[in-house]
């Protein structure tokens, strides 16, 4: 069995400017922040970020890495709005493809299933269609005479054709993984990580700890905690604390004090430079040392 172990820096080394990159997790929860930080330190630029947005989006916008964001929202959960994202939008520095969060799910699902679109009611009547003029409707081919029409209101009905959201690369973070590329989520919600991986050309898992192949579901955890199988994975990197400062239970909760400091750094360019100098433009080892120091001084 292939050994897919790699490093955060090697993952980022496989990315290119202009790529469309999917980032797993949801809001300020289980985000692959070690990779996000490494992208901030890299010379990558002009990225399209596809995410259930949290501080991954805000941090990459603040670092000037982003041309466009595909999302339904950007939030820090305990802080409703990410001020870095707000600043980028309010200064017109980033484009957005804003869609309903269920449309977003179907876009990843369509890419994962290799179909060009999936139909949904979500989006009909809303400004999601006005602001994304390339989105199209699709008319059901099942008309009034069809044996497949159960609800007469569905005959010839027009629905949104949510296009496949194809990704050049996807990165997700898990609690545990094995060298073969299976990924374990010990929190109750796997979010949409399998679909990000399924929608992508190059698929990367970062994790708190790599354990021996075949030991993820060893009796203390049921198989249902391993939603990511190795057919979805090209590389696995161990990076303890790699989701910090987002929540990654049961390994750690959200570092609320740190998140506040991150949000406050949006106040002005000098604040951001100080924050970036201390926590962004440093190696991951240095970052982890500094955040441990502020947590247990």
């Amino acid at each position: 069995m292939a050994d897919k172990r790699t490093t955060v820096d090697d993952i980022v080394g496989e990315l290119r400017s202009g790529m469309t990159i999917g980032i797993g997790g949801w809001g300020s929860r289980r985000k692959p922040m070690a990779v996000v930080r490494a992208i901030c330190r890299s010379d990558l630029t002009d990225l399209t970020i596809v995410a259930y947005g949290g501080p991954d989006v805000g941090l990459l916008c603040a670092a000037g890495k982003v041309r466009k964001v595909v999302c339904g929202f950007v939030t820090l959960d305990s802080i409703a709005l990410d001020p870095h994202w707000r600043a980028a939008r309010q200064h017109g520095r980033v484009e957005v493809m804003e869609v309903d969060e269920g449309m977003f799910f179907l876009g990843l699902q369509a890419a994962s299933w290799r179909v060009p679109f999936l139909p949904t009611r979500a989006g009909l009547g809303s400004d999601v269609l006005s602001f994304n003029p390339d989105l199209r409707l699709v008319r059901s081919p099942y008309g009034a005479g069809s044996p497949y029409v159960g609800d007469p209101a569905d005959a010839d009905v027009e629905l949104v054709a949510m296009p496949a959201l194809r990704l050049d690369a996807a990165i997700v973070h898990t609690n545990r993984a094995d060298p073969a590329g299976n990924g374990q989520v010990l929190a109750p919600d796997p979010f949409f990580d399998t679909l990000f991986l399924g929608a992508a050309e190059r698929r990367f898992v970062t994790t708190e700890r790599i354990v021996a192949d075949g030991t993820l579901a060893d009796g203390s955890h049921p198989l249902s905690t391993v939603p990511i199988h190795r057919m979805l994975t090209d590389g696995v990197a161990e990076t303890p604390g790699g989701a910090h400062f987002t929540a990654n239970p049961p390994d750690y909760g959200r570092d609320e004090a740190f998140q506040k400091e991150y949000a406050a750094a949006a106040a002005d360019p000098a604040e951001w430079e100080a924050f970036a100098g201390r926590y962004v433009l440093v190696s991951e080892d240095e970052y982890q040392a500094r955040r441990r120091e502020r947590q247990d001084p």
Binding site: Q90, L124, A187, D189, P190
Partner: protein, 259 residues
């Protein structure tokens, strides 16, 4: 038990809780998804009284047993089934849900905005994003909670249609109207519905202590006003006891709506 009729101290926040609870009257076995403290209290009050089959989430990835106090620590919640976000869409698109979302703006025909204020390509104020509002509003019953009713939140036309109102749903066709049902809007001043011939917003009831003139002055469009707009109903003694003693002894409700 407290007797509200003898007790002049029923607060505005408590009227709001009861008005929110009442949106789930007769809802049956569906998911109630309240956003905001007062809607959360309303859903729990409804479940403990007239809507016992309501399904509530723990705010994370599970359905919870009962309707515990809103300040219950997550570790003390009892859960009955898994409900990760991916499964939430199964519920949303099956229609077995009545959500009460908040609205930064809401307009005459029931469009809601939580996305942005000003032009969308470069907003004056970036808000959270449309989230699930477009899909929610055309798939299942939707109500709104606006804790600060004023002419900037109740507007003629929202800047970004996130949740879809009646006119926009009608214009979008049968796919949008089939399951569309914007039921109620509850604000700190009153309760509103769309039970008018042209499906524009109407005053349903005004909270005690609020006049029709107050509401008209705080609304940025021509609201339908019935000849005899009733007052929002009083909580029963049992309901008031549940709100004050059981569900919210810390009075979080008063921090969302002041009397």
């Amino acid at each position: 038990m407290t007797d509200p009729l003898a007790d002049p101290g029923v607060t505005r926040a408590e009227f709001c809780v009861v008005a929110c609870a009442d949106v789930w009257h007769g809802a049956g076995e569906i998911m109630a998804s309240p956003f905001g403290t007062i809607p959360a209290l309303g859903a729990r009050l409804a479940k403990r009284t007239f809507a016992p089959d309501l399904v509530l989430t723990d705010g994370e990835a599970a359905l919870m047993v009962g309707a515990p106090p809103i300040a219950t620590p997550p570790a003390e919640l009892v859960r009955e089934a898994a409900m990760p976000y991916r499964s939430v869409f199964d519920v949303v698109w099956s229609g077995r849900r009545h959500i009460m979302m908040m609205a930064s703006q809401i307009d005459r025909t029931g469009n809601q905005n939580i996305s942005a204020i000003g032009p969308h390509d470069r907003p004056k104020v970036q808000l959270v994003g449309v989230r699930g509002a477009p899909g929610n509003s055309v798939n299942h019953t939707t109500s709104y909670w606006v804790p600060d009713h004023n002419a900037r939140s109740f507007v003629e036309q929202v800047d970004v249609v996130s949740g879809v109102g009646y006119a926009r749903a009608a214009a979008a066709g049968a796919g949008a109207t089939r399951f569309h049902d914007v039921r109620r809007v509850v604000s700190n001043l009153g309760v509103f519905d769309f039970e008018t011939p042209d499906r524009t917003m109407r005053l349903h009831s005004r909270h005690p202590g609020v006049s029709v003139d107050d509401i008209v002055a705080a609304t940025g469009f021509a609201l339908r006003i019935p000849d005899d707009a009733p007052e929002t109903r009083l909580p029963t003694p049992a309901e008031l006891d549940l709100i004050r003693v059981v569900l919210d002894p810390g009075s979080a409700r008063d921090r969302e709506v002041r009397s």
